[in-house]
Symmetry: C2
Subunit: 277 residues, 2 copies
């Protein structure tokens, strides 16, 4: 691992690292916030970003370090896809680099690199555990495509996370244009292969014994709400399953980081309740 940047921030440290990913077959960059040291090793909260983002959007714009420092939580911000000249790409902002959708691609030309699910679930946590002093507790959250990532990864790994939350997540990718485009490219035309990566389907199939505290914030002035996000679909399944979901609709808020910055404190305190108890 190579340290690219380090900044003092709220008495902790904001760092940016590069490492060679064997899962993704490319060099990857991630950001991490380390809170001021305490007696006990801190838990980790993973943040998954949305389309076109990298590890720096949340790091620079969300204002989460203040609260993470106060609570004693490590924040890990990975990139949203494999990167590099030798990594396949498309001219669309919503496919290829910057748009990994946190799944394992089975179709060419993507299959050799686009395995963000394995990267987030296995390679990155092992790297973090090997290189930083952390506890075994972890939670996960994200925005838009990263909200899809956080929810689907949490649902696919019962017991792995203490809590999950999302801002304006894509909850039902098999039914919306962003998801259908990406899943067709990465997973192929056989829609039966898509269910395993769709949070609504995963929640429908989930064992309520594994119920996980879940928080979703959605702005009602979000330009993608009706066509791409539809959190009410997820809320309806949660209601049927008696799943512990809090869905909050925030009047006047859009899809931007101003929305995230406004409510990120609530999300960190929500995760802290479950990570630190």
């Amino acid at each position: 691992m190579e340290l690219l940047e380090e900044h003092r921030c709220f008495e902790g440290w904001q760092q940016r690292w590069r490492h060679d990913s064997s899962v993704l077959n490319c060099a990857m960059t991630f950001s991490i916030f380390l809170p001021p040291p305490r007696t006990n090793p801190p838990p980790v909260l993973y943040w998954l970003s949305g389309l076109t983002c990298n590890d720096e959007n949340f790091t620079t714009k969300a204002c989460a370090q203040r609260i993470a420092a106060e609570l004693g939580i490590v924040l890990v911000m990975p990139d949203t896809s494999p990167r590099g000249e030798h990594v396949p790409n498309s001219e669309s902002y919503d496919l290829g680099q910057g748009a990994g959708f946190y799944l394992n691609a089975t179709q060419q030309p993507w299959a050799g690199h686009f395995r963000m699910y394995d990267y987030i679930c296995d390679e990155l946590p092992a790297l973090i555990a090997d290189n930083f002093s952390i506890s075994e507790k972890a939670s996960i959250f994200g925005h838009s495509m990263g909200g899809h990532g956080a929810l689907s990864i949490a649902l696919k790994n019962p017991g792995r996370f203490c809590s999950v939350s999302a801002f304006a997540p894509i909850v039902n990718p098999t039914r919306v244009p962003w998801g259908q485009k990406a899943f067709t490219a990465y997973l192929g035309a056989d829609e039966s292969q898509w269910r395993a990566w769709d949070s609504c389907c995963l929640l429908m199939d989930a064992d309520s014994a594994n119920a996980l505290p879940t928080l979703i914030d959605q702005g009602d002035a979000d330009q993608f709400l009706a066509d791409q996000l539809q959190p009410a679909q997820f809320a309806e399944v949660a209601r049927q399953k008696n799943w512990p979901l809090t869905l909050r609709v925030q009047p006047g808020y859009d899809h931007s980081y101003y929305f995230i910055a406004t409510f990120v404190e609530d999300h960190l305190r929500f995760h802290a309740e479950h990570l630190l108890k």
Copy 2:
């Protein structure tokens, strides 16, 4: 004025506007944060950014809106220079567009456009007063080149501001490379013309009857501290003049927005003490 962007943020509004500046002879963009409405019109706190920045750096990275919303303060973030294809520029990051140094240039090719002092002191406040509901109280703060701008503008306009503060300001531009390069280009080789734009010189000549509450934060791991910033020079003059300066040295902090984000709450609360009393 043309509204370019508007986002709900901490129950207030983050907006970005474009207008034609007659002082700078070009179109200018500024950002403004409007806190949630209260009974009384809110005061204004002007932020002046540093080299290479525009109106969006502080807006997106400093996390100041949360506190401005709580306190009921309007934040105004102007650009750092005139802009446009017809505006003179240089290939250096520290001269020309993005590097206006908050002065009125007298030398060609700059003199026709580079009048950021008049823009910040006259044209912009008049525009804000005409278009937004604000009180008559104002304060000013900034970072690096913008810290120089905030201090020098406050010192040149006694009684105009309730308080002034700065992060890692250039306090003595006549004596450091950034200032000497810019002042030579904008003001000419006659160094006697430079004093009127140097905060240390202005403070030396100030009437202590006009003493203004002043706060400076400086990181001791700032890569520009020794060569370009030297806040101790300003502190020494303040000591001689019995000027109400608090200079805080923050161990381990650098020149980045992570430093600003960490301490911006202290600055807003400092200004609120003087703006809201």
